[in-house]
Point group: C2
Chain length 435, copies 2
């Protein structure tokens, strides 16, 4: 049998590890691929950068689109990241009749429909295990292992940077800014962490999972999102006092006729529950399906080794021919997809954590409770500590509440009204509880 | 396209749920299979039993081997359990050129080599996701999602009955016998629970996972096993005092040139670690692979719905053609497999929990410590409670120890010597710690 020729686009953190492992002729990758695999062409920005890899110089190219279209290349592995030139290169590969492996969540979340239409036109597959959850084989689990299920709900920790920051805020009482600096020092956050901490990266991944598990063709902008960059350590401490951990969650829940709930937000998870115990840079995905019930899968959500595991798994799938069959069976991002029905706040019900900054005088708790009651929100528990002696007498004091189950629309309206009370310093804090 | 005809062998807990879901023409199973699927023949013991399923009477047969060989049947789904007639029926199906789906761990653990040889001869696949971990897609995770990894270790909770019993012993302080009766009352243990509680069922599943992850062709009898039926609640309480939970674990660990460690035993897992938090009838599998690192997957390890999810996932795999490709790529139970190299106790090192029954007099702790020291076992912590006033003055009192890392061979020799001391009432209790 002829060797399979790979065109690798990108030789950074993940690409270099993939290249190294493809060269290991006696490893499990070689055994399970069952055919010789050669790196035919590798696209980089800088051909002269030293990379600690023994690649012949003529393998390197600075033109990813040419590599993708090169007739000597059988399969294209895109590990550059970003939208362009990744999008054009992937389309070029598909048009030239090649299967594609990519770990590019931004590209799939924004242009999944276009890429999968091109793949169908040419009868090819786009495999993307590395795009969500790093080394955790969540795409394979949902799309193949649990393929016979109707998914009802999903809650997932999909960004290792955020989970690391939240874990250190909870453990060491650090502020968000301090925890971010620590994460950067330890290599768990990039110099510019914006897309991680504002929830965009998690929303990209949720868009992909929503397509896979619920057939919903959403793009990132349709997903209501809140990051961790505005979280205050006080709320993490109060949540802990109430028995909860704060996690940045991607949530999807099927509300039947009312539509699909999708959101990215920091939410309270009860301590001791599996998602609460996922700490540091790990990722985890909890799904609820019928007939399987609840399943959890967790592991390293990023990093060279874990992501290379996912990319090489995809490459085996493509080489042995499974990826093409899976692509046909899943029919992702179908052309005639109706716009997704996303449900409105009145259809979403849950418990909420609230923190108000109130004037320290009698009757305030009562007025807040009254407003909540008027909006059908009932209070399950309250924390109000005695202000310390040193505190300024007129400084606002915190009032923390956990509500019973209420509709999001009612909570919206109640908080709106409360923030207009004279005795409250807006904005009040509100975090949902993931039950 | 022609509909696919299923021959279903067994219409019990799992079989009836599979039959029900195959009949759901609008569910995800039908969509992802992409072809019409019909139940052509169903084998049972008792044709007249009422089953709450609307099956035409002429579909039912009491001859599973005839159903397996019936030319009108395309795919055979074996859900009878036990060795015979399941083995003969599966072989008949493979010889007649049919793919087989089974959830029969006993059959695979004992006759995997024979079945897979027959499958290779006829170019067919045997899919067996339901055989390990119920609804948890662990076969697909190890064999496909993590296919590019070299596995180094695995620790798994694979028997829901045992985990349920251990959870209630830990939570309510019940004795083993009481917890078993409770499990039976609640439907978590069978009338005859022997194969569950003595570790046999877990060893069956470990034999299958050892083949899949390490290519080791072991049968159940090669796996050293200890069940939970001899566990005393005192040890569960002392373990809790030391910060550990006791779990029945299937353990596999690659010791390189020294060979593969395989065992089924109740072991101590540190509280707060993911496996320790798996409670009730759930199952969980933790794997360590290179390059992916540590991954955990958990969910419902038994029951009609979860197991049907696995069986129907396999059926989709077979129907779309993926199962055949996976069978070729994994080459399980290969003919020319050398006998597995299992490592000896001297190569296995770990910490151990020990409980001795000792005479309540001075110097005993010292003599025990001395024997341990002579065998290179050092002590990390000791629990010795004051005997209560009510206790008989001459009754033996418990002495509990946690050791530092020591070799199993040294621990064997030390306990042997200690149990021969006059001040010790044998046998002493020893449980390994899973770190
Ligand atoms: N890192 C992770 O842990 C992780 C985890 C999951 C998914 N991913 C995804 O995997 C992909 C790669 O991530 P990474 O961390 O490996 O990225 P990276 O370290 O920044 O590497 C990017 C590589 O692409 C090359 N490249 C970028 N733009 C190019 C262009 N216009 N033409 C040619 N080459 C170009 C770069 O070349 P030079 O080396 O010459 O600069 C570099 O080798 C991204 O989609 C990312 O989201 C990463
Ligand atoms: N139950 C679970 O949660 C679970 C989980 C994972 C894996 N599994 C595996 O799945 C398999 C089935 O388990 P189950 O719990 O569904 O078993 P079950 O409830 O005992 O059902 C067995 C079925 O097989 C039929 N059967 C048995 N011997 C037969 C024979 N000689 N000829 C024809 N039919 C025969 C029985 O017929 P009658 O109905 O007429 O008696 C019954 O319908 C087993 O291998 C088991 O290990 C089960």
């Amino acid at each position: 049998m002829q060797p399979v020729s790979i065109g690798l686009l990108g030789l950074g953190t993940v690409g270099a590890e993939v290249a190294r492992l493809v060269e290991d002729r006696n490893g499990p990758f070689a055994t399970r691929a069952g055919r010789e695999v050669v790196l035919k062409k590798v696209a980089v920005r800088d051909r002269l950068k030293s990379r600690g890899l023994a690649l012949p110089i003529d393998v390197l190219s600075t033109d990813p689109i040419a590599v993708a279209a090169d007739p000597a290349v059988d399969i294209v592995v895109e590990l550059m990241g970003g939208i362009e030139p990744a999008r054009t290169a992937v389309l070029a590969a598909l048009e030239a009749g090649k299967d594609v492996v990519t770990a590019n969540k931004a590209l799939l979340a924004e242009h999944g429909a276009e890429l999968f239409a091109a793949a169908r036109r040419s009868g090819r597959a786009v495999a993307f295990e590395g795009a969500v959850g790093g080394g955790i084989p969540i795409i394979n689990t949902i799309g193949v292992g649990l393929a016979a299920n109707r998914f009802k709900a999903m809650a997932a920790i999909l960004n290792g940077t955020c989970n690391f920051i939240l874990s250190s805020m909870a453990r060491s009482g650090l502020s968000y800014a301090e925890a971010l600096r620590q994460a950067q020092r330890l290599g768990y956050a990039e110099a510019d962490p914006t897309l991680d901490v504002d929830g965009t990266d998690t929303a990209h991944k949720l868009a992909i999972l929503a397509q896979l598990a619920f057939g919903a063709s959403v793009t990132t902008s349709m997903i209501p999102k809140q990051g961790i960059d505005t979280l205050q350590s006080a709320d993490i401490q109060y949540a802990a006092e109430l028995g909860y951990t704060v996690k940045l969650l991607a949530v999807a829940r099927d509300h039947g006729d009312a539509g699909l709930e999708l959101r990215v937000a920091p939410r309270l998870v009860r301590k001791g529950s599996p998602l609460a115990e996922v700490s540091g840079p790990d990722n985890a995905i909890r799904t609820v399906g019928d007939p399987v019930g609840s399943t959890l899968i967790s592991g390293q959500g990023a990093g060279a080794g874990p992501t290379a595991s996912a990319v090489l798994g995809d490459l085996i799938d493509v080489i042995v021919g499974r990826a093409a069959l899976t692509a046909r069976s899943l029919a992702l991002w179908p052309e005639a997809a109706p716009p997704p029905r996303l449900c409105s706040p009145k259809d979403v019900r849950g418990r909420a954590y609230l923190r108000f900054s109130i004037a320290d005088r009698p009757g305030v708790l009562g007025s807040i409770a009254q407003v909540l009651g008027r909006h059908n929100v009932s209070i399950a528990s309250v924390i109000q500590h005695d202000p310390g002696e040193d505190d300024q007498p007129d400084a606002p004091v915190p009032l923390v509440m956990m509500t019973h189950v209420a509709s999001e629309a009612d909570l919206d309206a109640a908080l709106d009204a409360i923030d207009r009370l004279l005795v409250v310093s807006p904005p009040s804090v509100r975090l949902g509880v993931e039950d």
